[in-house]
């Protein structure tokens, strides 16, 4: 995929594009970490809301992966 524009604009867009890739990948890693931590928390404490919280963590991870794929599609 080519970066539109020229000169200063091209540099900014290049940095923006690869910056977005990087932070999206980092966010997926963070989401995996959240899923792991939520599992640990629900094991440590049984507060009667374990399943919905785990589900939210998984949905959050799925959203992160979708956003990463969108980044590759849009940029």
């Amino acid at each position: 995929m080519t970066v539109p524009g020229s000169g200063y604009q091209q540099i900014v867009l290049f940095i923006f594009k690869y910056g977005m890739y990087a932070v999206s990948i980092l966010h997926v890693v963070f989401s995996i970490f959240v899923v792991r931590q939520v599992n640990l928390m629900t094991k440590t404490l049984k507060l009667g809301f374990g399943v919905p919280v785990k589900l939210m963590a998984v949905v959050h991870l799925i959203l992160s992966v979708i956003v990463l794929l969108l980044m590759f599609a849009l940029l």
Binding site: Q9, V12, F16, H27, M41, H60, S64, V67
Partner: protein, 284 residues
């Protein structure tokens, strides 16, 4: 030999004076003549004490029951102790309806709640977490984060970005906002304090990478106090509870918990109950 003789009536005192006196002739032959007078005095004193305890009704032993001439403060405490004990017994019998739901900041006698390393017989009396009003700060931040892109893309700097770049940035921004809200919710929901009939437990998830769980037995608690400072804490009745212990962690702090005076009262009740159990020799 005289020591053995003297101890026998003392034991009988604690058992209600039902033991028969020892054979005086056989014991007297073992006692040296110089100590005979002293032994006789002690025997008389013990006999008096035994008579006193025999006359006293079993349910009015001073060490086991609170004194009738207590001050209003201690009588209130006594009522609270009775209330906590009654509630605990009702819970054990399945007759107590818990106060507070899943998201309540204070749940009294919660059901379907447990924590790791909980003793099978251990009963949770209170589940505490920060008052919901403490979440207002991050909720406001989340609202600001939600409306920021609308203002941000009006700036001249963003004119150089094609629409697909702006769309990608917006999507990522909202994903980060969702993550922020989720992380704050998790921290609030899982940072809890337990008061059980045996100990107090402090569970802190400061963030997603740092977890701290500490506990102290009720009998190692030395001092309990609380503070309420500021307008919000006064209006919404929440504050910090401080527990000084003789355990490995010397100070516990339950931060921003609702009804701190009630929490202190319950801990004091349990302390009192634990002391009474120690006196009565009930150990679980």
């Amino acid at each position: 030999m005289p020591d053995i003789y003297i101890n026998k009536p003392q034991n009988s005192q604690t058992q209600g004076g039902s033991d028969t006196p020892p054979n005086e002739d056989s014991q007297a032959s073992d006692v040296r003549p110089s100590s005979q007078g002293r032994v006789e005095e002690l025997r008389q004193d013990i006999a008096k004490e035994v008579n006193k305890s025999a006359e006293m009704p079993t349910d009015t032993k001073p060490d086991l029951q609170p004194k009738e001439t207590s001050s209003p403060k201690t009588s209130n405490l006594k009522e609270a102790i009775n209330q906590t004990c009654e509630d605990l017994n009702s819970k054990k019998n399945g007759n107590f309806k818990p106060e507070g739901g899943t998201f309540a900041a204070l749940t009294y006698m919660p059901e379907h709640t447990a924590f790791q390393l909980q003793d099978p017989e251990e009963e949770i009396i209170m589940l505490l977490r920060a008052h919901p009003v403490t979440n207002v700060r991050w909720i406001i931040i989340a609202i600001i984060l939600t409306i920021i892109p609308g203002f941000l893309f009006g700036l001249a700097f963003f004119d150089i970005f094609p629409s697909n770049y702006i769309a990608a940035f917006s999507i990522f921004w909202y994903l980060v906002t969702i993550s922020f809200v989720f992380e704050k919710f998790l921290n609030w929901f899982f940072t809890v304090n337990f008061i059980t009939d045996e100990r107090v437990i402090d569970v802190n998830f400061y963030n997603l990478v740092y977890k701290e769980i500490s506990s102290a037995n009720i009998d190692s608690i030395q001092d309990v106090s609380y503070s309420q400072a500021g307008t919000f804490q006064s209006i919404f009745n929440y504050g910090n509870v401080y527990i000084q212990t003789a355990a490995e962690k010397p100070r516990f702090e339950f931060t921003n918990v609702p009804q701190p005076e009630r929490v202190v009262s319950v801990i004091n009740d349990l302390k009192q109950q634990e002391e009474q159990e120690k006196i009565e020799g009930r150990v679980r």
